[in-house]
């Protein structure tokens, strides 16, 4: 009995519950670093605790014709619960997407499952509870396959969508009169000189509000052409302290390094 091999195989199946993020389609006006979205191999994956990992494509997923191609479907769903609120794109920027409730955000999304092969319904027992949601205004796609229930996969996909919106959608920052937003101050270490005592304890990666701060930090980095030292000055931190913050979270580190790479800078390590 090769216990070690079995352990390896189990470790893989139990510890890595991952789902792929789909390719991002053409609407890239929101995407300053669209190479982040365009899928290269190994593909970008988001694990259940919303950290990003690079992973070779070992699990095959069959995503077929997305249900958006079926106009009757969209019409029917639009009339009941998941309408396609494309109109939101004109007056929304990235940070306000994250302020939407799940229901409001879902209204801007299309949802699909696997391609129908066969008649479905009572005919079928294949546990195809996988969910893929596409955020219409930005074209960002999030998927979840690992849970047994469509309901939970939808919730996971929505959570992943929020992470992706924070990581991918860049907002303009006015550097002339920059003052860090509260969400950003809250994720900074207490030694930051611009952080007031009213910000409370430092928010870490396990807090859902962390992503709001990440988005604001990436906005600032993007406006500063990827310069961590310039950002550190504006945030009242040493360059080392800000680097440590960026490196403390996988998704933030990867997004920051993607951004720096797009500006021709070396990755943080």
């Amino acid at each position: 009995m090769k216990v070690s091999m079995a352990i390896q195989s189990l470790r893989k199946s139990l510890l890595h519950r991952t789902a792929y993020l789909g390719n991002s389609p053409s609407i890239s006006s929101f995407l300053k670093f669209s190479e982040f979205a365009v899928s290269a191999r190994p593909r970008l994956t988001v694990t259940s605790n919303a950290t990003l990992k690079w992973r070779t494509g070992e699990r095959k997923c069959r995503w077929g014709d997305f249900c958006s191609s079926n106009s009757a479907h969209n019409k029917a769903l639009g009339s009941c619960f998941y309408s396609n609120g494309v109109s939101a794109s004109s007056n929304h920027n990235g940070s306000s997407y994250l302020e939407l409730t799940d229901e409001e955000l879902m209204k801007q999304c299309e949802m699909g499952t696997f391609k129908a092969s066969g008649p479905g319904g009572q005919h079928r027992n294949k546990r195809e509870s996988a969910v893929r949601i596409k955020h219409i205004p930005t074209g960002i796609i999030a998927q979840a396959v690992e849970d047994r229930s469509q309901h939970k996969n939808r919730a996971s996909a929505l959570l992943r969508l929020r992470t992706l919106l924070a990581l991918k959608v860049r907002n303009a920052v006015n550097l002339e009169a920059y003052s860090p937003p509260k969400e950003l101050l809250q994720i900074l270490p207490l030694k930051s000189t611009v952080r007031g005592s009213d910000c409370g304890p430092q928010i870490g990666p396990h807090n859902p509000k962390f992503m709001l701060g990440v988005q604001a930090l990436l906005d600032l980095l993007s406006a500063l052409e990827g310069s961590v030292s310039d950002a550190a000055k504006l945030l009242g931190l040493s360059t080392g302290a800000l680097s440590r913050l960026i490196l403390s979270d996988d998704s933030l580190r990867l997004a920051a390094n993607e951004l720096r790479a797009s500006k021709g800078m070396k990755p943080l390590k």
Partner: protein, 389 residues
């Protein structure tokens, strides 16, 4: 290397289910029941000349308590569990796409995912992390507690692969919406598509307070899935009657209702279609059903998990698959109160369009806003509408 198999066995429900434990124990083999009922039903509704052949029995009696609710009364070493896991995984891998090619059944990838879910259910609450630690430390002698004997796990996985017994019957539950519903042979496993019925009801009651406060009925409730889903979104308002012809389903639905502490809100009644609704004619605010809708001729070609193991009573809708749907449409107008809502699941586009046409032309003036709704795979699946005021 593979330990010998011994039949799975049953043990008492834990205290959570004390009231219902007797139900599950006193029952004879549920499939025998289902067969008798199928005959009765066919006499009553379809007048079908010959009853369908009985579903194939599993070789050993199914464990009656869902794995996830069992007490963790077994212990084993990590290495024994891993040995089973590795055996089960290679058995799943050996299937390749052969099930998929023969009857559109699961492939190895799906079977491996099911194996992970089986692990989730069989490991006791705190033991997954213990397991991870043992794996990380490379310490195969760590003792962990399980909700089933390792021998039983061999037997269960063999049933899954060799007999194509549905995964949900193996673990005794189906994850559906945010619920975990107990299921067993004799009761249809609720499908992901059917979750949409609850969403449709949620949409309707958000616009009409009168419907929210009214009486709802889920006909042919099976595991009680739709009734429980609706009761939860009704919140403090309204109540639900859930009916089923099959006593096994009535008991399973009652068990699920009680598990979600909804016994004051949902009344489970035994009987065929309108029969258990005597006394509430014209008073029902909403009617929902996922009736049998597969044409009889299609039953023999079904995926083995469905055709061999799920109750024909819940699948076979007669020659065109429309017998029960038409029965529901014909009775809905007199059962619903003016403005009352209905939603029925169908086999697909053909049945949906037929029913819309039927209601408009054969039952003129009875209904308004009759509509079809697609499932998430884009197949027209539901017919909805309102009784005219």
């Amino acid at each position: 290397m593979k330990p010998s198999l011994r039949p799975s066995f049953t043990r008492p429900w834990p205290c959570i289910a004390s009231n219902f434990s007797t139900f599950f124990f006193q029952l004879p083999t549920p499939l025998t029941h289902a067969r008798n009922i199928t005959q009765i039903r066919h006499r009553h509704i379809h007048s079908s000349p010959s009853p369908p052949p009985p579903p194939q029995l599993a070789s050993s009696p199914p464990p009656l308590l869902p794995l996830f609710l069992r007490p963790p009364e077994y212990t084993t070493t990590v290495s024994d569990l891993l040995e089973w896991h590795s055996w089960a995984k290679s058995l799943a891998a050996s299937i390749g796409s052969s099930f998929e090619d023969s009857d559109n059944g699961p492939d190895s990838t799906l079977l491996c995912r099911e194996l992970n879910w089986l692990m989730e259910d069989v490991l006791d609450g705190s033991d997954p992390s213990l397991m991870h630690k043992a794996v990380a430390r490379d310490d195969p002698d760590t003792i962990i507690s399980l909700k089933a004997d390792v021998q039983e796990l061999y037997s269960l996985w063999k049933q899954r692969i060799d007999e194509r017994r549905p995964f949900q019957y193996i673990v005794g539950c189906q994850h559906w919406r945010d619920l975990i519903l107990c299921v067993r042979e004799g009761v249809l496993i609720p499908r992901p598509e059917t979750e949409i019925i609850v969403e449709l009801v949620g949409d309707v009651i958000s616009k009409d307070e009168g419907l929210r406060e009214g009486l709802w009925a889920d006909l042919g409730t099976g595991s009680g899935a739709i009734a429980i889903g609706i009761a939860k979104i009704l919140g403090n308002y309204g109540r639900v009657i859930a009916t089923d012809l099959n006593p096994v389903a009535v008991q399973v639905a009652s068990f699920n209702v009680e598990r979600y502490s909804l016994q004051d809100k949902i009344e489970v009644r035994e009987g065929s279609w309108w029969e258990p609704l005597k006394g509430v004619e014209g008073k029902v605010a909403g009617l929902v059903s996922n009736p049998p809708y597969i044409p009889s001729d299609d039953i023999s070609g079904l995926q083995a998990e469905v055709g061999r193991h799920e109750p024909r009573l819940a699948l076979d809708g007669g020659a065109e698959g429309m017998d029960d749907l038409l029965h529901l449409c014909n009775g809905a107008a007199s059962m619903l109160k003016p403005g009352g809502f209905f939603a029925f699941e169908t086999n697909g586009e053909k049945q949906c369009k037929f029913l819309v046409d039927y209601m408009q032309n054969q039952l003129p003036g009875s209904f308004c806003n009759v509509n079809t709704v697609s499932d998430f795979a884009g197949i027209l699946r539901f017919v909805t509408g309102f009784r005219n005021r």
